[in-house]
């Protein structure tokens, strides 16, 4: 899931002041931001009281089912159209993807209410760790399922670096060195050690990424309708 963190209130306030906005509509996200405790119903209520305490009027609020879902968000916005119409600006407590989806769906200025931090593993309720940066050229096959790109602070493929001390990381001294962990797990699994991981293919990480699973489906449909049409 996407891990979000609260955004500095002064920045949000600055956005509203710059616009001269007095009335605000709030939107959250029922998926990641709810699990992260940053943009669920409870957090929207807190944001509401902060805004009201600072003299703003909150015209309404909604926790979108999945804020980054274009169709869903558009539907949600339509349901709250009059509250949005009454607002000068919309603040979205979701990741940057959710904010952009909302901004696409709403004619009013839309501002981020959170910082998008990382793609996180849920370790336990409220505890998240970054394990993958979605680099597009995965090396987990060679590293016993431990990602050096993400979990080594320097992102080294071959390590450890010279700062490793007693198996611990130089940069984050309270954590074991990723490369020590990788080598230990490979040894535990009796896998012959990898001599060297070659330089990453950064071109595999397309930015902006875009994938469509639909052409095949659409082609199938077209073929099916072609068969049915006869003449």
């Amino acid at each position: 899931m996407i891990i979000t963190k609260p955004r500095d209130w002064a920045r949000i306030k600055g956005n509203l002041e710059e616009l001269g906005a007095k009335r605000v509509f709030l939107m959250g996200c029922g998926e990641c931001a709810t699990v992260a405790h940053t943009g669920g119903h409870a957090e929207l209520m807190v944001a509401k009281s902060v805004l009201e305490g600072a003299g703003y009027e909150v015209t309404g609020l909604v926790v979108g089912a999945v804020a980054c879902h274009s169709g869903g968000t558009r539907l949600e916005m339509r349901k709250h159209q009059h509250e949005i119409d009454a607002a000068d600006a919309v603040v979205v407590l979701a990741c940057g993807a959710g904010v952009q989806t909302a901004a696409d769906a709403i004619a009013k200025p839309v501002f981020p209410g959170l910082e998008s931090a990382f793609l996180g593993n849920v370790i336990r309720n409220g505890v998240f760790e970054e394990r993958c940066m979605m680099c597009g050229d995965c090396v987990l096959d060679k590293t016993a399922g431990i990602c050096p790109v993400t979990t080594c602070p320097k992102g080294l493929l071959n390590g450890p670096c010279g700062g490793m001390w007693d198996g611990m990381c130089e940069v984050m001294t309270d954590r074991p060195c990723t490369h020590v962990k990788i080598k230990q797990r490979l040894a535990e699994q009796g896998r012959c050690r990898v001599a060297r991981i070659e330089p990453k293919d950064h071109s595999a990480k397309l930015k902006p990424g875009a994938v469509s699973m639909r052409p095949a489906r659409d082609a199938k449909k077209a073929a099916a309708s072609g068969e049915g049409s006869g003449s």
Binding site: P160, G167, K200
Partner: protein
């Protein structure tokens, strides 16, 4: 032809020193260091934004050493932290064009520990991969195998920490660097000669040359700094005790370093002295150890 390589190949004991380029364009102080160190050193490492803090580039500063070292050669440093593979290879071509023949390839400290903590660490390549890319240039190719119009012939070194634990992993890493093309190592500061001997023994079959790092533990303050700030280094009690109880910590540190150099000269291919600014001490250490 690199004199450092010739000496090591001939089995001669080498002495290397270290300077940091200035934080600015005035390199007069650096020049003074070069003149002092070149009295006893065969080569001088020119650090590359050491400690992830901004300095004049190793490229320019190495050239200053080449021009002013009286035969004492620069060891150009390249860290993976600040440049992607294009910039790294481009700088290596520049270095060779400028007459720099020795290169030490290191990963580099994380920017978060330096003076520009907001900087993006690049680490496009790690030290092994950059050593490999450098070896490729020596063979007349870039890292994609495309031919270069004019090859390099660098004497390629890597860093090694013989006191690292787990040692098997550090040793595996050293082998990896040797396979990639490193033919000499300069080590982090040695505090335990036995561990250095362990490394020397293990690497003997590879033929790689080992230059042992010796750091001047100048004062209790320096020791505290090393223990708290320098990754992968803990000053052992015997050194701390001698420095803290000495009437003159600097004098005592010179004594300790001299003893270390004497001892290491029996097992290493050379010593690398890191004087932390006390350049004159290097001359004394080398003289006192009987190596001058």
């Amino acid at each position: 032809m690199s004199r450092l390589r010739d000496m090591l190949d001939a089995g001669e004991f080498v002495i290397t020193g270290e300077i940091a380029p200035p934080h600015g364009t005035d390199y007069s102080a650096m020049l003074t260091s070069v003149r002092t160190l070149s009295e006893v050193c065969h080569a001088i490492n020119v650090t590359d934004n050491q400690g992830a803090t901004l300095h004049l580039s190793s490229l320019a500063a190495s050239r200053v050493v080449l021009d002013n070292g009286n035969g004492c050669e620069p060891i150009f440093q390249q860290t993976c932290r600040d440049r992607n593979r294009l910039a790294l290879q481009s700088d290596l071509l520049a270095a060779w064009t400028l007459g720099l023949e020795n290169v030490l390839v290191v990963t580099g400290d994380d920017p978060r520990g330096g003076d520009h903590p907001q900087a993006k660490g690049v680490f496009d390549l790690d030290s092994t991969l950059l050593i490999d890319a450098t070896r490729n240039m020596n063979e007349g190719k870039d890292m994609n195998g495309a031919p270069l119009s004019g090859a390099t012939d660098f004497f390629i070194g890597g860093a090694l920490f013989p006191e690292a634990e787990p040692w098997e992993i550090a040793l595996e890493r050293a082998h990896q660097k040797i396979n990639a093309g490193a033919t000499f190592f300069q080590t982090q500061a040695i505090t335990d000669t036995e561990k250095f001997a362990r490394a020397a023994e293990a690497l003997k079959p590879t033929g790689a040359k080992l230059i042992a790092g010796v750091l001047l533990f100048k004062s209790p303050r320096v020791i505290n700094f090393i223990n708290e700030k320098l990754a992968g280094l803990m000053v052992p009690d015997w050194i701390t005790d001698r420095i803290t109880s000495a009437a003159s910590p600097l004098e005592e540190s010179i004594k300790i370093a001299t003893e270390q150099v004497r001892e290491l000269s029996q097992i290493a291919d050379g010593v690398h002295i890191m004087p932390l600014g006390s350049d004159d001490a290097v001359v004394r250490i080398i003289n006192d150890a009987g190596l001058a």
